[in-house]
């Protein structure tokens, strides 16, 4: 009964967070200074194509109608909430009209997921492994060296690091492509290898930067745990170092790391903005960037709504599985 109450409570909070997030998402862009119709007209005008003023007036009316921006704010809000919660439809992209927002998101999602999931997991496993060893045996030369590398790489601004990687590996040595160039028939080996090949450099840039953070955070945890009484007790019991590390230190040090990992995975729906812009990688980050630049309300709401839902879901899942991992919470 207590467990059911716990789950129900978490579910209510989950739904409230989503509705609240979607409401904010609806109103904030509309409070901003960008009118998507004017932005679209400017796109036409900036390219210089001539239309006289009365033609532009007609185009303006036509675009407002097409984009569904003619009703009151409240009418637009109800339509938005109903559409999203009942059908998951974010409408057409305003800057790439009439392509549906969902189609754009579904095209971009596998790229972002593939890139970020792989690089985040590699960085997480590597970082935690190195950090655990560095915290457990701070005097070891190997641990010192690996920690040194992590501490050296961690503070480098990501932008600079990615650019230097590009210059070295795509220009000076020309190993990896300068920009994402995917070729090959659907589901063919050529396509898969082309995707992997084009993703190595962006993935490496993420791993290098994120790795340092995992090392530093798990090392701090491990150093603290080392002096805890239950660890001292384990030593006095005569348990092996490996057993103490894997059965006593690791399960305790890894708990906060799992929480952060789950949140990181939730945040993947934001894409990795700078990576995708820098490497011209066709993921969600690039899509959000386009939406902001073009005042594309629907695309912006589509991508960020998904992110809100993903983070809320990840948090709820963690809340639900935490009792399974941590007996202290189960006990409470």
């Amino acid at each position: 009964m207590r467990l059911l109450r716990y789950i129900a409570g978490r579910l209510v909070v989950y739904l409230l967070v989503i509705v609240f997030g979607l409401t904010i998402l609806f109103f904030v862009p509309r409070l901003g200074p960008t009118d998507p119709v004017e932005a679209m007209l400017a796109k036409v005008a900036a390219q210089g194509a001539y239309m006289d003023a009365s033609q532009v007036d007609r185009l303006r009316e036509s675009l407002a109608d097409t984009f569904g921006l003619n009703g009151t704010l409240l009418e637009q809000y109800w339509a938005f909430i109903k559409r999203i919660l009942l059908t998951g439809d974010f409408g057409p992209s305003l800057s790439m009209y009439p392509t549906p927002v969902m189609e754009l998101i579904l095209n971009a999602l596998p790229w972002t997921f593939g890139l970020l999931l792989t690089s985040t997991l590699i960085a997480w496993v590597l970082g935690n492994f190195v950090g655990l060893l560095a915290g457990w045996r701070p005097e070891s030369n190997a641990a010192k060296a690996m920690e040194g590398v992590a501490i050296f790489l961690y503070p480098i601004p990501y932008y600079i690091l990615a650019l230097v990687l590009s210059i070295l590996f795509s220009y000076v040595w020309q190993i990896f492509p300068l920009t994402t160039t995917i070729r090959g028939a659907p589901w063919s080996w050529d396509l898969i290898s082309s995707i992997v090949w084009n993703s190595i450099l962006p993935a490496a840039s993420i791993v290098i930067v994120v790795f340092g953070w995992w090392v530093i955070s798990v090392k701090a945890q491990t150093s603290q745990l080392k002096d805890e009484e239950f660890i001292r007790y384990a030593r006095l019991k005569g348990l092996s170092q490996t057993r103490i590390l894997t059965r006593y230190v690791l399960p305790n040090a890894i708990l906060p790391q799992i929480t952060f990992l789950a949140l990181q995975i939730g945040l993947m729906f934001n894409g990795s903005l700078i990576t995708e812009i820098l490497f011209d990688y066709p993921g969600l980050g690039l899509l959000i960037y386009t939406a902001v630049l073009q005042g594309d309300f629907n695309l912006l709401m589509g991508t960020i709504s998904l992110s809100v839902i993903a983070v809320a879901t990840a948090t709820m899942v963690i809340d639900l599985i935490y009792p399974l991992i941590d007996p202290r919470i189960r006990h409470r």
Binding site: P33, A53, M96, Y171, L278
Partner: protein, 642 residues
């Protein structure tokens, strides 16, 4: 060169990234030598047969939709520049329209300019072999009329009443109102035109509102070959029957077998790509990037081989635009005072290290317009007086700037005064803080403890709206002008905005001063396209979007002159005299402080291809993203043949 390229002017990301990375590598003695040129491109075409062009708007989000009539569909991945054709295109070197799909310029059939005969070019075929005839034009007209879902439909039917077939190669067009310039309404002047003739035999089988036109059947010399599903590249291949196209008839066979439009993303990567010979033609980059490129790859060149490197013939000029319906900018004396408060020489150096041509007139100082208006009006400008008899024009601006640049060690600056004026402009307004102060005091401004106070008693500060991360020249110019006005004593700051917000503010009048350019574009001696936008008919209340005259400038004399211009065709002998009178009116009222033509740094790489247009080979302007690019491609030659 390096002396006047001040590192502090580099964008932070650029300075921190490219310069640091490339700079350190060079300093450490490791030459950034690219590996030997690949024989094949990474999309599988022979490199020596492939012209690679930078895509203007980077990656395309919906690459398999090429229905150019759906708003939001991007076409400048080659479809616009290479594969479609306009009824009338533009010869940017001569500054005049030319027939494209039409065989001749339109012939007016009545004195009201509401009926026209348009002969079509014969012998053209679509890329699937079907002949191009009047039926395609008739179908396109009817399709636009019958498909209100297409946003352009309303704009089109607002002006074109009907198109009637006379025979297979002649149509008659009726307009809803007098239209002396039909070729502007249905053809390209700058960039292109929304009216694109579509193949009847393809489109009539589809619903034009939802048809994706992919892969497209094309009318010009290139056909669609392949694209990246993620929209980073688009490959076009020369048609076997290229002689059945407008390009084939007007120019001849293009040499490039393939034209690859592709996106490399950020400026840093685009620069690296050209340095590595992976791209032949770049759209806009900054002067600092061009400097790096030229040092990295000896085959890269700008429009000029020496200073100022940039093309100065862009059809839009840059300056400070006012919302003239808002006090204190509703008073011409305020606007004139702000013009005289600026040291234009300093602003030029601060913006683009002096690599710009100044313009005191409301039209850009392109070669054609300099010959037609700027030079002939120089005498009038020198004699022009403000109300109090003060003569604001400084004809020696170019000579002084040339002297200054020479003294800073810049090479190849003309010594001759006339040559200097040709390069840097006929002159600009004097830097005269005393006269600016006098004008402000006459306009009711006062000074209180060194702070200017507006006529309404409020302290005077200025916020200039400027583009953020696009249109770099306008962005930098805003900061240069803010510095000038602040030095004069009016605290001025710059508010940078993304494109959507920036243009929303302009259209709705939600600004006082902005670093805009939209109403200062012209390319032909007929100034109609530019000046029509200043007519008071288009003034709207602030808050209501304006489709023209975003400055909300009301001037009856000016509007009367524009009415005269409206009534005559582009080849009328009164075009230039009326244009001159309009420009004089614009100088007197000064609704915008026009400052410089736009300097476009649009480098080309001559490793694989040559005979690009350039200052010393001026057969076209370097407008790779315009509809007339197809005529440039047909004149580019393989470097190997040299």
């Amino acid at each position: 060169m390096t002396r006047f390229l001040k590192p502090r002017r580099l964008g932070p990301a650029f300075a921190a990234g490219l310069t640091l990375a490339m700079g350190t590598t060079m300093l450490s003695g490791v030459a950034l030598t690219p590996a030997l040129a690949q024989e094949m491109t990474d999309v599988g075409t022979p490199r020596a047969e492939t012209l690679i062009v930078d895509m203007l708007n980077a990656r395309v989000g919906n690459p398999t939709n090429m229905n150019m009539y759906q708003q939001g569909v991007t076409t400048n991945h080659g479809l616009h520049q290479l594969a479609t054709s306009q009824l009338y295109d533009i010869d940017t070197a001569a500054g005049e329209q030319i027939p494209g799909l039409a065989a001749e310029m339109p012939e007016a059939l009545n004195d009201d300019y509401t009926q026209f005969r348009v002969p079509l070019r014969e012998g053209l075929t679509w890329s699937d072999g079907e002949p191009f005839t009047a039926d395609d034009v008739i179908y396109t007209d009817q399709m636009l009329r019958d498909t209100p879902e297409l946003a352009y439909s309303a704009a089109y039917t607002d002006q074109i009443a009907s198109i009637r077939k006379v025979d297979d190669y002649t149509v008659e067009i009726e307009t809803t109102r007098p239209t002396p310039r039909l070729s502007i309404v249905l053809g390209s002047v700058i960039y292109g035109n929304a009216f694109i003739v579509v193949p009847e035999h393809i489109w009539s089988e589809e619903d034009p509102a939802t048809f994706t036109n992919f892969p497209p059947v094309t009318i010009s010399a290139y056909k669609f070959a392949e694209n990246d599903p993620n929209g980073t590249w688009f490959l076009w291949e020369k048609r076997e029957d290229w002689e059945n196209t407008d390009v084939g008839q007007l120019i001849g066979e293009p040499d490039p077998q393939y034209v690859l439009f592709r996106s490399y993303g950020t400026e840093e990567r685009r620069v690296l790509a050209m340095a590595a010979d992976d791209i032949d033609i770049l759209t806009d980059i900054s002067p600092e990037s061009l400097d790096i490129l030229r040092r990295q790859n000896e085959n890269v060149r700008g429009w000029f081989t020496d200073f100022p490197f940039a093309n100065l013939d862009d059809p839009c000029e840059r300056g400070m635009h006012f919302n003239t319906s808002v006090a204190p900018y509703d008073d011409a004396k305020t606007r004139w005072a702000l013009a005289l408060a600026m040291d234009i020489e300093r602003a030029s150096i601060a913006t683009y290290s002096g690599m710009m041509r100044a313009s005191p007139l409301a039209i850009p100082p392109t070669s054609v317009l300099m010959d037609t208006y700027h030079q002939p009006m120089a005498e009038w400008l020198a004699a022009f007086e403000l109300e109090d008899g003060y003569q604001p024009f400084n004809p020696d601006y170019a000579v002084d700037l040339a002297e200054r640049l020479r003294s800073e060690g810049i090479e190849n600056i003309p010594e001759d005064a006339e040559e200097a004026r040709e390069l840097f402009g006929v002159g600009w307004w004097k830097h005269d803080p005393e006269q600016a102060t006098k004008l402000l005091e006459e306009a009711g401004f006062t000074q209180d403890g060194g702070q200017w106070v507006k006529p309404d008693g409020e302290p005077w500060t200025i916020t200039i709206l400027a583009p953020a991360d696009f249109e770099v020249q306008s962005q930098r110019l805003a900061f240069a002008v803010a510095n000038e006005w602040s030095q004069f004593g009016v605290p001025t700051n710059v508010q940078q905005m993304q494109a959507g917000a920036f243009f929303t503010a302009e259209n709705t009048g939600d600004y006082e001063v902005g670093s805009y350019w939209g109403s200062s574009c012209a390319i032909t001696p007929d100034l109609f396209v530019d000046m029509e936008g200043w007519h008071q008919d288009y003034v709207r209340d602030n808050g209501t979007p304006a489709s023209s005259n975003q400055a909300r400038y009301v001037n009856e004399d000016l509007s009367a002159l524009i009415d005269e211009l409206r009534a005559i065709p582009a080849d009328d002998e009164e075009i230039v005299p009326i244009g001159t009178e309009i420009l004089k009116e614009m100088v007197e009222g000064l609704p915008a402080i026009e400052m410089f033509g736009t300097s476009k740094f649009v480098p080309v790489n001559e490793t694989y291809w040559t005979n690009y247009p350039s200052a010393d080979n001026y057969y076209e302007g370097p407008w790779w993203w315009w509809s007339n690019f197809k005529f440039i491609v047909a004149q580019i030659e393989p470097a190997a043949s040299e």
